[in-house]
């Protein structure tokens, strides 16, 4: 199995928001505080409203979206695609994910996690592609509206892989 990890770089987002906040605080006109607050609230509400829609995948997984902390992993499995798909659907609830949409033909699984003290909940996107009898799995865990996932994205992936490994003991 090969593995590649990528984490979104949300430093730019933190800097932008910090500059806006400092600018607003230092400014004599306190009303300008409302503008960034309004924009942030709008983005947050947009995230909440579109969270469970499968069409919002490009928004949550985009590397240009600085408001969403996300991680991506790629694994290669020596499994046929349909078998891996069935197995993943079986283990997802045990890993703490709620499946919202699963399309076997496309090899896509969309799941969500529930709200916790550290996160508004994450969206989990899994896509499978079969090449030469081996299946490549792309895993993406994206927070709803956070610059940092406080380790939730990483723990989602760890839980997912732990459950998968455990499920191979029959």
């Amino acid at each position: 199995m090969k593995e590649s990890i990528s984490k979104s770089k949300n430093g730019a987002g933190i800097i932008i928001i910090s500059l806006l906040a400092f600018g607003a605080i230092l400014s004599k006109n306190k009303e300008c505080l409302l503008i960034p607050a309004f924009i942030i609230t709008l983005i947050f509400l947009f995230g909440i409203l579109t969270r469970r829609s499968s069409w919002s995948k490009p928004y949550f997984t985009s590397k240009y979206n600085i408001f969403v902390a996300k991680i991506r992993h790629r694994e290669e499995f020596d499994f046929p695609k349909h078998l891996l798909f069935e197995k993943l659907v079986e283990i997802m609830p045990e890993a703490g994910f709620k499946i919202r949409k699963a399309n076997e033909d496309m090899g896509d699984i969309f799941a969500t996690t529930s709200l916790t003290w550290f996160s508004w909940g994450e969206n989990i996107y899994i896509s499978l592609q079969e090449v030469n009898g081996k299946t490549t799995l792309d895993f993406c865990s994206a927070c709803l509206f956070q610059f940092s996932s406080w380790g939730k994205n990483e723990s989602n992936y760890d839980n997912f892989m732990d459950e998968f490994e455990k499920s191979l003991i029959i």
């Binding site: 020596d78 499994f79 078998l83 197995k87 079986e90 490994e165 499920s167 003991i169 029959i170």
Partner: protein, 69 residues
């Protein structure tokens, strides 16, 4: 992997389908397919015992060691 699972051979000998075995063992078809294709990491003694009981065979008929070299 040098351990080969001969579940498909035993099923053919007993003229039993994977679905029927799955129902009799109460194990999902996905798990049995993984086992049959030797993709599993390990097999529990309880699973092996149940398979041997249903297929009326010995563990050695299900599992086989083949040296790769």
């Amino acid at each position: 992997m040098p351990i080969i699972v001969n579940l498909d051979i035993m099923l053919a000998r007993r003229k039993m389908s994977l679905t029927e075995l799955s129902q009799r063992l109460d194990i999902s078809i996905v798990n049995l397919s993984i086992l049959k294709q030797s993709k599993s990491k390990a097999i529990r003694f309880s699973t092996l015992e149940a398979i041997c009981k249903v297929l009326d065979c010995q563990p050695g008929e299900i599992l086989e060691y083949k040296n790769d070299s």
